[in-house]
């Protein structure tokens, strides 16, 4: 099912959680809403689910207005951050809940319920836990129960709120792959909320980067990493080295010195030159746009980082640059920093 979000605005008292947000989600896609806390991503998910209503805007499922339908009628599977399992029910009954509450013509015979629940439990690989109670399960197992329960109503939209937030790193990685696999097996459109960029980039077909109630960028994981649309996205996703600069008629300057870098169409004014650490080469100071003294060198695992102090109008600026392992670098030497790929944004 395709989901259209059109011009949605949501305020909580004076706080604007969503500011005129529009988003198209294609049928069968797995989309991640990625952003820091307070960016409005969970609010957007809840509005799509029907757990919250927007102050303005529209939500459409397959072109049909979804806002006049309650969460009960939208047929969406929702997986809560803290699972929200029913403590007093066994795993089996938790999963069966969505089938047991059906009424009238939709009511299923007991045998059909048992068959469906058993099928779901094997799908999420916890059929051996059917008689346990939620309190007797590990975090990862609870997550699987929550997912099986949400899938029991055969939803065409699956919404997951920080599904791996409460799990330890190893389980999280394992479940992530498994969820991706599951999404491919089912005829379902999935929307996932996360603040973990690694999770979003690894799992999603498309990533929606959100900041302060607005969508900053929508694109494939490669798009948002390699070609960030805004300085916010560049800062938020991956590591970023930020150089100062000044744009003047299509060129970049530091003070009066031309940097020899392209302003990328930025109008005159102060600029931020953003680059990934691995795109910044440590080079000859005379032939580099930026030069400075090495203050410290640190090595951890495969990474080496150098603090380089460069001159700036507002006082010296310390930049953490990546150093190739085979390059020797002594504290106190003067080095040049040469960004090969970079993006220029207004400061």
């Amino acid at each position: 099912m395709s989901i259209d979000v059109v011009g949605v605005t949501k305020r909580f008292k004076s706080f604007t959680a969503l500011d005129n947000v529009s988003l198209e989600i294609r049928s069968g896609e797995l989309v991640a809403l990625l952003g820091p806390s307070g960016s409005g991503k969970t609010t957007l998910l809840r509005i799509i689910a029907g757990l919250d209503w927007p102050d303005a805007g529209a939500v459409r499922f397959d072109g049909e207005d979804a806002l006049d339908r309650s969460v009960r009628e939208r047929n969406v599977g929702f997986v809560f951050q803290h699972y929200a399992l029913f403590r007093h029910m066994s795993v089996f009954e938790n999963v069966a809940f969505g089938l047991r509450v059906r009424r009238g013509a939709d009511k299923l015979p007991e045998a059909a319920i048992r068959a469906k629940v058993n099928e779901l439990l094997s799908l999420v690989q916890i059929d051996w836990l059917a008689e346990r109670y939620p309190a007797q399960l590990s975090g990862g197992q609870r997550q699987r129960v929550a997912l099986a329960r949400a899938l029991a109503i055969s939803p065409r939209v699956l919404l997951l709120d920080e599904p791996f937030g409460a799990l330890d790193a190893k389980v999280r990685k394992e479940l992530r792959r498994w969820l991706r696999h599951l999404h491919e097996e089912l005829p379902v459109t999935s929307v996932l909320v996360t603040h973990d960029q690694e999770e979003a980039l690894e799992l999603a077909d498309r990533v929606v980067v959100m900041g302060r109630g607005k969508i900053e960028q929508v694109g494939t994981p490669a798009d948002v990493y390699d070609d960030p649309a805004t300085a916010f996205v560049h800062d938020f996703i991956g590591e970023t080295i930020a150089f100062p600069g000044l744009a003047r008629s299509g060129s970049l300057y530091l003070g009066d010195r031309a940097l020899g870098l392209d302003a990328q169409g930025l109008g005159d004014g102060p600029a931020r030159i953003l680059a990934r650490p691995h795109d910044v080469e440590i080079a000859d100071p005379a032939a580099s746009p930026f030069a400075g003294r090495v203050l410290a060198v640190r090595t951890f695992g495969p990474n080496r980082r150098a603090d380089v102090e460069i001159a700036n109008d507002g006082g010296p600026l310390v930049i953490e640059a990546a150093v190739p392992r085979d390059q020797s670098l002594d504290v106190g030497t003067k080095v040049g920093l040469k960004p090969h790929r970079y993006k220029v944004f207004a400061a």
Partner: protein
């Protein structure tokens, strides 16, 4: 061989097991067991045949029936309406909510005689409420119905105060989850909320019941105290004491004690069972 020694003590990092258990037992003996055993000793002054005659006399049986029957009924009523009060207090915001919340505790603090007199005045045939009920042929004061009203009054805070924190802790996400799975409101209430607060409701029921069985002050004013109609067991005990028939009084007390203990034990087991099902203990 220390391993085979019979011991109550399991190795534990929490110190002071011996000391605290000793204190607990001494304290319980002094405060609870000693007065109770005096009750049994006093009762043993009379023969078993005499004991049976006393406790199976029509007046005693009726008083016990009134006491236990109405206490159970009052506790049941309190569970239903107490749950509704809790729901309103926990889920909604309204003006003077704090005041309403404080009002709940009044039956705790009010001298029960005052409550009894106030209720009698209200429900008497010429009272505010009694005068409205009288044309319908309903008499409250000086009937078992009056006893029920008094027992409901004193039992309400027990249900409210036990269930309130549990419902407040209940995650609103549970209700959202139920709704997203297609449950209508009534299904959410009966299948999700009530089972979640069920152990607390049972505890509230047990406390309200225990309080009602032992209640004396408020009931004697409103009951009318007609033997065989509206006489409660605690009053019968006091009557026997005033007649200096101490053994008779303690005999009735022993029956009350054993019956209460048995009922509370059953409720306790029920509660433990429902908690186990809820997976609280594993």
């Amino acid at each position: 061989m220390t391993a085979s020694r019979l011991t109550l003590r399991h190795p534990s990092v929490i110190p002071g097991f011996g000391l605290t258990l000793g204190l607990t037992l001494t304290w319980l003996s002094l405060i609870v067991l000693l007065p109770l055993s005096a009750l049994f000793i006093k009762t043993s002054e009379i023969s078993f045949a005499r004991f049976l005659t006393i406790v199976t006399s029509e007046r005693t049986l009726h008083a016990l029936q009134i006491s236990f029957g109405l206490s159970l009924a009052a506790a049941a009523v309190n569970v239903v309406f107490g749950a509704i009060v809790v729901w309103v207090l926990v889920r909604y915001d309204f003006p003077l909510k704090r005041v309403v919340d404080a009002l709940i505790d009044i039956p705790f603090a009010l001298p029960t005689a005052v409550a009894g007199i106030a209720l009698t005045a209200l429900y008497a045939e010429n009272g505010w409420i009694g005068s409205l009920l009288a044309p319908l042929g309903i008499q409250v004061s000086f009937t078992p119905l009056g006893i029920l009203v008094a027992l409901i009054f004193i039992g309400l805070p027990f249900v409210v105060r036990t269930v309130q924190p549990v419902l407040a802790d209940l995650d609103a996400e549970l209700e959202e989850a139920a709704a997203s799975l297609g449950a209508v409101r009534s299904q959410t209430i009966w299948r999700v909320i009530v089972p979640s607060v069920w152990p607390a409701l049972l505890t509230g029921f047990a406390l309200a019941f225990a309080r009602a069985v032992g209640e004396y002050g408020s009931v004697i004013f409103i009951a009318g105290n007609l033997p065989g109609i509206s006489e409660i067991a605690p009053l019968l005990i006091v009557i026997r004491l005033e007649e200096f028939r101490y053994a008779d009084a303690t005999a009735i007390a022993v029956v009350m004690l054993l019956a209460s203990f048995a009922l509370l034990l059953v409720i306790n087991r029920l509660q433990r069972w429902s908690e186990l099902r809820g997976g609280k203990a594993s």
